[in-house]
Symmetry: C2
Subunit: 243 residues, 2 copies
Amino acid sequence: MLEELKLTKYDKSNEYSYTFGIFPTFELVKNRYNEVLKIIFSTKLKMSEDIEKLVQICKEKKIKVEYNDKLINRLASKENCFVIGVFKKFISSLCSNKNNLVLYHPSDMGNMGTIMRTMLGFNINNLIIIKPAVDYFNPKVIRASMGAIFSLNIVEFDSLEEYLNFSKNKKYFFMLKGKKVLGKFKIEDGKFDLIFGNEASGLPDDLLDYDESVVIKHSDKIDSLNLPISVGIALYEFSKSSL
Amino acid sequence: MLEELKLTKYDKSNEYSYTFGIFPTFELVKNRYNEVLKIIFSTKLKMSEDIEKLVQICKEKKIKVEYNDKLINRLASKENCFVIGVFKKFISSLCSNKNNLVLYHPSDMGNMGTIMRTMLGFNINNLIIIKPAVDYFNPKVIRASMGAIFSLNIVEFDSLEEYLNFSKNKKYFFMLKGKKVLGKFKIEDGKFDLIFGNEASGLPDDLLDYDESVVIKHSDKIDSLNLPISVGIALYEFSKSSL
């Protein structure tokens, strides 16, 4: 079955996606080995400790390894890449009774990957995405996440309402007009959700009166902090006591 | 003189650089109008309030405006861009007796631009760059900064020693092995420098004993936070009392 698959350049409608480069590929085989179809090596690949480790783990997990320059060029023509992991897109479910990070209408793939990596750095493993949103399995997201995506639980919701009905955690909506200033209020005990809006348009104003709305104070010389920076600062502040 | 200039695709050795798009071009004419050679519009540009404002400010500052699709295509072939600002690279000097952000061997243009914007958001206007470093006038930096570069004072140093001799501010070196944990110590009054290392290799270990070394605590599931996120968190923590 796998052999019959004609692998093509990534497209959202594909059942599989790719990791480009050693680092995310390593995270893939370490954390999601059941989903791996195969690992493709370029014949130009130079041996290194990292590659040895990767080969070793492929052996242990009985993951197929193939040397195929043509395929690498087809899948990653612009990427100057010597290792590709091919994996089946997987469905994950959220760990219940955990904190969640929520992205409402995220539109930038690099931002989403950076946020995934930062979440992992602050021990938040549940990511909720409210659609419309960029395709989180796009190799650009995976690369920006440096493979963090393979350690996270990710669930998409079709609407804000669906999410609001789902989560019982205390909700902190990050908004420029937020009523509380981050760092100037006591964070309650218990599970929380941190919710961030779209890069350009933020969150809908009517959320200002739903649970808590929070602003990260910045100077008036910029319109807003960029999204991954805001998320990083919020995760830092909310994790302070636990790290 | 200006008319004789044959403008070419950006190169580090050029005397001039470019802003691509309305937003950074607006910041350019607002903050560095003396350095502007001209503004180039595409004939495909659609009128908007923002464009009106830009045209108005060009008139006030007697900045030359030109409609030239060919030139736009030559300078920004891949950018899908309708406005370009052309400006002479300028030399700035640091405001004395202010806080500084210091980047040691920064290697990523997008990161540098994002950091510039974040600095402006936290009222830090002095940027010190220790070479080797990416070219901060590259249009990619300017775009990532969203024009924040035109509100900053930026100075390059040839070596760490040169910088250490120059600045009398209290120095906080951000390092994975840092001795103090950000958020868990009292920040002294007085001017400070926040110093961040290269994306891949960080700062030299011998700085651990120079003034203060600081770590931003994160989980062991990632090697390190990414550079702009670390800078954002540090700026947030150090600006808390002042914003």
